[in-house]
């Protein structure tokens, strides 16, 4: 199997903190139009994998190829510019800015210092922002300061801030944490709507939610892949049951 057939190929990825191997010889591949869910018990290394892909943590060994580019050698902003978007576990938005401004700051135009100085909010910008706001159910709240949004709305806003960059790989760390049931449903619908044309990796615990969205599930345990495949398959995998129940 050639790496370049996949949007993302992670091979032999290892990172150790003071001898502790948080991720240990991990390999996996994600395709276009695929929504992959990564599950696993606490400390399995899920978040660390996302950190490694987006460059927040530097790998000790191994390679991460995205559309044929080696990400391990790129800096964070270069990885983003290459088309990788990442949502953090706790919503990280700019609370002092309005929803509109949050989205505007995330717009991929004017990313250099000079570009940002010369950036002008023209009709095209406004249109783009309003359309994304529509997608993430915040069209009516554009002028609110982000600090006043509910927890779920903040999660959506952060997803919107990624969407506005049209990333080809979208990585979401627990996107429905703190959301109400109806919000979860809307989010699932949103994820299913945006997956076509790109790849999405989601870390999630809520199995009901996972069921709604997952194409394929990867189970991590102690930095290694325990099981991979459809949700049914991994749920019936005795090693997975052992890990979850044996805890």
């Amino acid at each position: 199997m050639s790496n370049n057939d996949f949007v993302l190929s992670v091979e032999d990825l290892t990172v150790s903190f003071d001898g502790f191997r948080a991720v240990d010889g991990l390999s996996f591949y994600v395709d276009t139009n695929e929504l992959r869910v990564v599950i696993g018990p606490n400390g399995a290394g899920k978040t660390t994998v996302l950190d490694l892909i987006c460059g927040k943590t530097k790998a000790t060994e191994g390679s991460i190829k995205f559309k044929g580019q080696e990400l391990t050698r790129m800096s964070e902003h270069e990885i983003v510019r290459a088309g990788v978007g990442r949502k953090f576990q706790t919503p990280s938005i700019y609370e002092d800015l309005t929803v509109f401004e949050n989205l505007e700051v995330s717009l991929p135009r004017g990313r250099s210092v000079l570009g940002a100085l010369a950036f002008r909010r023209d009709a095209e910008v406004v249109e783009r922002i309003e359309s994304v706001a529509e997608d993430i159910f915040l069209a009516d709240l554009l002028d609110e300061r982000a600090a006043v949004l509910s927890h779920g709305q903040k999660q959506w806003l952060e997803i919107g801030m990624l969407l506005i960059q049209s990333p080809e790989l979208l990585m979401l760390d627990e996107p429905v944490a703190g959301m109400s049931l109806s919000e979860r449903e809307k989010t699932a619908e949103l994820l299913n709507r945006i997956t076509p044309g790109r790849s999405v990796i989601v870390i999630e615990h809520d199995m009901k939610f996972v069921k709604h969205i997952a194409h394929k599930v990867t189970v991590l345990h102690q930095g290694k892949i325990l099981s991979e495949g459809s949700l049914d398959k991994v749920q019936n995998d005795p090693r997975v049951i052992e890990v979850y129940l044996g805890h």
Binding site: F17, D18, T57
Partner: protein, 308 residues
């Protein structure tokens, strides 16, 4: 520069020079310990650190006067009492300061830095109003004067040895408290995870206040010790501030061992540089090197690689 000296002269010079470096190390470490506790454990930069040191120095001055008046017979012992008085005074003032100001600013480290700068101005003026603008002379007891003669040519100043011993003792006590006592466990727990520690029944507020008071107390002990080698005046605390901060930052914030190692490396390089070049240039060189290394290793020398 070593022409015309006998081998034994050179040896004794090197021994004494090495000891000069050790004294400087003790001084740096003693200055930095209090700050390192506060900064490392609480993330607070205490710009009034120098003023806490001077508080200790003034306490020493007062104690010596009390002894001179009340117990002239045991005057020699005043210095040991003064160290205790200084520690208590520093800790008390630190406790008060934490309660009145610092605790309101925990989430704003830069603001703490600025607010404590304000505190330092006020303390300076208080010292000036009480003790006068002039420096006060603190008389050393006889037993701290003079030098140990190891050989005909090697002399080690007694007060240097005392500072060194005091530093060693304080460091040991702090390390012991930090890693062996219940309080240390609580402090480390709070640093690691405040809500969790709270859930486990640790009173985070109290731990913070203890920690701050301890740091200030140690600063005052340093000040008491420095009456042996430096000056005691309202603004003398400012002299130590840059060195102290650099030692702590260079060592890496969360590591007391780092502080020790950093104090050691900075003092040794400064003391040897001073031997080969003029005091001013040695100082510039040392500071430049430290800043240069910090550019390369901003997290400090001795921070564990951690998952953020």
């Amino acid at each position: 520069m070593f022409d015309g000296y006998t081998a034994s002269e050179l040896v004794s010079i090197f021994v004494m020079q090495g000891f000069a470096g050790l004294i400087l190390f003790s001084v740096f470490l003693l200055m930095a310990l209090g700050l390192a506790i506060i900064f490392g454990q609480m993330g607070v930069i205490n710009m009034a650190h120098g003023e806490f040191m001077i508080l200790g120095a003034y306490m020493t001055y007062l104690t010596s006067h009390v002894f001179k008046g009340a117990f002239p017979g045991i005057y020699g012992a005043y210095f040991l009492v003064a160290i205790v008085v200084a520690a208590l005074a520093g800790a008390a003032l630190g406790w008060l300061l934490e309660w009145a100001l610092i605790r309101h600013l925990y989430h704003r480290p830069l603001d703490t830095l600025l607010a404590t700068w304000g505190v330092s101005m006020i303390l300076q003026q208080i010292y000036r109003s009480i003790f006068g603008a002039r420096e006060v002379g603190v008389e050393l007891p006889d037993w701290l004067m003079g030098a140990f003669h190891l050989s005909d040519t090697i002399e080690l100043p007694v007060n240097g040895v005392f500072v060194f011993a005091l530093t060693a003792a304080i460091s040991t006590i702090i390390l012991f408290m930090m890693f062996r006592s219940r309080w240390g466990l609580q402090v480390r727990a709070v640093v690691q995870n405040r809500p969790m520690a709270g859930a486990a029944g640790i009173n985070g507020t109290r731990v913070d206040r203890m920690t701050f008071a301890l740091g200030c107390g140690v600063a005052s002990i340093a000040g008491a010790a420095f009456t042996m080698i430096g000056s005691t005046g309202p603004t003398a605390g400012q002299l130590y501030i840059v060195d102290t901060f650099l030692v702590v930052v260079f060592g890496g914030a969360q590591s007391l061992f780092g502080t020790i190692a950093s104090a050691f490396s900075i003092s040794q390089s400064q003391s040897s540089l001073e031997f080969f070049m003029s005091g001013s240039m040695a100082k510039v060189f040392t500071l430049l090197t430290v800043v240069g290394i910090l550019l390369l290793r901003p997290q400090g020398l001795f921070v564990l690689k951690m998952r953020k």
